[in-house]
C-alpha cells in the first residue's frame, strides 16, 4: 500500500472543483481519463481533460425508443442516467485488430498488437460496475482467458458515481445492481447538492484509489455527509423507471419457448441489433481474416449480434432464420441461460436496450407479458432456443 494512501473504506468530502483536480491527478499518473461529455445531443463517454468537459447542468429524459437531453436547474456534473455508450467500448472494443501478418517471399512475420493503454473511467454507475464484473467473468475466467481484455482491465481505474437520478428505463433495483455502487471501484462519488452546497462524498474502494484521493484537498466525512449521500441513492431507488420481476424468471423463460409473445415481438422487432450493441454485458464477436493486395493480412475481431443471420450460420445454413428465434435467443440467454452459464443474470438493469431500440421494445414488458399468461399455451419444451 502506498505510504501516503488512505485505506479502503475511508470516506471524505471534496468540493466540485476537486473533480478537476482528480482528472489532473489521474492524467499525471499516466491514465487516459474517460468520462461523460455532451455530444450530438447525448451524454457519451470520451476523453475528458478537465472539469469544463463534463456535462454540468445537463440531464436526460429516456423512454422506450426515445432519448433527449435537457437543462437541469442546478449545475450537477453527474445529473443524468446512463447514455448510449457503455464502458464496453473501451474494455471490449467494437473493432479490435488481434494481429497483422506480412509476407515477404516465403517468410511470414506476425506483428503483434500493442495493448498498453491505461484507462481511468470517471462516472461509472453501479449497474455499469456490475456489467464490467459480468464481462470479467466471461473474458477472464475459465481455461482460455482473453489476455488483451485482462490487460486492459487490470490497467483500469474505476471512479464510480452513485446515481442521483434514475433514468426512465432504469431497473437496477430489480436486478440488485444499484443505484449504489457496492464494490469493484477504486473511488466512489456521491454528488451532494443542496442550496449553495455542491460537494461530493468520496469513498475509497482500493489502495490505488486511496493513493489518488490522498493527493486531493478534502475533509473527513461527517455523519451528516454520509446520511446525505444515503438519502441520494435512496431517493433514486424509489424513482426507477422500470421493474422486472426476477423471481422464477429463468424457469419461466426456459419453460416457454413457444409462447405466442415471441411471435408478437417478432412483428415489432427489426432485428437491427441495436439492443445487443448497446448492452454493456453482450460480448459476442465475429472474427474476420482479411488479406490486402500488398502482402499483408490481419485478423480483426468485431462485435457481433445474435440478431444477425450470419451469427447462427453453420454448415448448411443459419439456425435462426426468423426474427422470432433471434429475439428469443437474445432474451432467454440474457435473463435465463446466462445464469446456467456464468452464475449470474446477463442483465444489470441499465435500460439501454429499451431506450436505444429504434422501435422501443422493452425487455421488462416482454418478460411481464410472458409471465402474465404463461401456462395457457404450453406444450412443454426444454427452453433451448
Amino acid at each position: 500500500m502506498a505510504q501516503d494512501g488512505l485505506s479502503v473504506g475511508v470516506k471524505a468530502v471534496i468540493g466540485r472543483e476537486e473533480i478537476g483536480a482528480l482528472i489532473a491527478a489521474l492524467s499525471a499518473r499516466g491514465w487516459r481519463v474517460l468520462g461523460p461529455r455532451v455530444r450530438d445531443g447525448a451524454i457519451i463517454y470520451d476523453d475528458v481533460a478537465g472539469l469544463d468537459d463534463l456535462p454540468a447542468g445537463w440531464t436526460d429524459t429516456q423512454e422506450a425508443g426515445r432519448y433527449r437531453i435537457e437543462r437541469r436547474t442546478d449545475a450537477a456534473l453527474f445529473g443524468y442516467a446512463v447514455g448510449p455508450h457503455s464502458w464496453k467500448r473501451f474494455l471490449h472494443p467494437p473493432v479490435e485488430r488481434l494481429w497483422q501478418a506480412r509476407r515477404e517471399g516465403d517468410k511470414v512475420t506476425i506483428i503483434a498488437e500493442k495493448n498498453d493503454e491505461k484507462f481511468a473511467f470517471l462516472g461509472v454507475r453501479a449497474c455499469e460496475l456490475a456489467a464490467i464484473m459480468v464481462q470479467d467473468r466471461v473474458f477472464m475466467e475459465g481455461p482460455y482467458p482473453d489476455t488483451a481484455y485482462r490487460k486492459r482491465r487490470e490497467n483500469t481505474f474505476l471512479i464510480a458515481v452513485n446515481c442521483g437520478e434514475a433514468g426512465g428505463t432504469c431497473f437496477c433495483v430489480s436486478m440488485k445492481t444499484g443505484p449504489k455502487a457496492q464494490a469493484g471501484f477504486d473511488l466512489a462519488l456521491t454528488e451532494l447538492i443542496e442550496g449553495e452546497r455542491h460537494e461530493f462524498l468520496v469513498e475509497v474502494g482500493s489502495e490505488a484509489g486511496g493513493a489518488v484521493l490522498a493527493d486531493l484537498p478534502r475533509r473527513p466525512a461527517a455523519p451528516e455527509d454520509i446520511a446525505a449521500a444515503e438519502a441520494v441513492t435512496a431517493r433514486t431507488a424509489n424513482a426507477m423507471g422500470r421493474t422486472l420481476e426476477t423471481e422464477g424468471l429463468k424457469e419461466l423463460l426456459q419453460g416457454n419457448p413457444e409462447h405466442p409473445r415471441w411471435d408478437d415481438v417478432a412483428q415489432r422487432c427489426l432485428a437491427c441489433a441495436n439492443c445487443t450493441m448497446v448492452c454493456p454485458t453482450c460480448f459476442c464477436t465475429t472474427i474476420a481474416d482479411v488479406s490486402a493486395l500488398d502482402g499483408t493480412a490481419e485478423r480483426v475481431r468485431k462485435w457481433d449480434s445474435c440478431f444477425s443471420l450470419d451469427f447462427s450460420y453453420i454448415h448448411g445454413g443459419s439456425v435462426r432464420k426468423e426474427t422470432k428465434s433471434r429475439y428469443r435467443q437474445w432474451m432467454t440467454h440474457k435473463l435465463a441461460h446466462w445464469i446456467d452459464q456464468f452464475g449470474t443474470s446477463g442483465c444489470v438493469g441499465c435500460g439501454r436496450c429499451i431506450t436505444w431500440c429504434p422501435v422501443g421494445i422493452d425487455i421488462t414488458e416482454e418478460a411481464a407479458s410472458i409471465r402474465a399468461d404463461s401456462g395457457k399455451c404450453q406444450e412443454g419444451g426444454n427452453g433451448r432456443a
Binding site: 445531443g41 457519451i44 412483428q267 427489426l270 481474416d289 450470419d310 429504434p358 422501435v359
Partner: protein
Amino acid sequence: MAGKKRLAVWKFASCDGCQLSLLDCEDELLAVAEAVEIAYFPEASSRMAKGPYDLSLVEGSITTEHDALRIRKVRRQSKFLVTIGACATAGGIQSLRNFADVAEFVAAVYASPHYIKTLATSTPISDHVKVDFELRGCPINKTQLLELLSAFLAGRKPVISADSVCTECKQRGNICVMVQGIPCLGPVTHAGCGALCPACRRGCYGCFGPTENPNTAALAAEWQKLGAAPRDIRRAFRTFNAAAPAFRTESEAHGE
C-alpha cells in the same frame, strides 16, 4: 501480363459513379493494376482487350433490349460476375419508371421521343443472368471494392457484412438519430457505408438496399409515430433501391 487474372468493367444504365469508385482508389489503384490485368475498362483506358475475363464488374441496370442481350454476352465471357452498386443489384433510381408509364417520361423529356427505344422497366442484372456476388451501395464503398478484389485474388470469400447499418452506427459510436426523433432507414438497410449519414446526424437513406430480413412494416409504423406522412414513407423506400422487393412492397403500402 501472363498469369495475371483478367479484369473487365462493364457499364449498363448507370451514372458511372461506381466505376469511378475504382478509379477513386488512388493510393491502392497501382496495387490493383499490378495485381490484375485490367483488360477491359473503357471508362479508364482506350485499350479494350477481348475476353474471356476472370472477373467482370458490372455497373448499371437493364433498361433496353440491347442491354438485355449484351449482359448475356458479358456473362458468357466472364468466369466470375460481380454487380457493383444499387443499379446493377436492384435496378437503381431509374427503376422509378417501374411504378410509372415510361412513355410519358420519354414524351416529357425528349424533343423527338420516337428516337428513344427503351424497356418499360429497369431491372437488376440478376433478373437476367447468374450473378456470383453483389456489391451494394449508391455508390459502392471503395473499401468494400478493394476487399472484393483482394478476396477474389486470394481465392477466399469477401468479408462483407450483411448486417444492418445500425451495427456500423454502433461500431462507430454514433448516437442513434432515430431515438432522438429523426426517421432513419438504417435498421432495414444493408451495411456497407460505415453509417455515413447518421454520423452526420441525418437519417439513413437506404443506399445499400434492404437487409436480409427487413421488417419494413414495423419501421414504417415507427416513422409514423415520429411524424412522417405516408408520402414521406413511400418516397423514402423509393430512392436508390426502389425496385428491391422489400422496399418496393413497403412503398406500395403508403399513399401519396
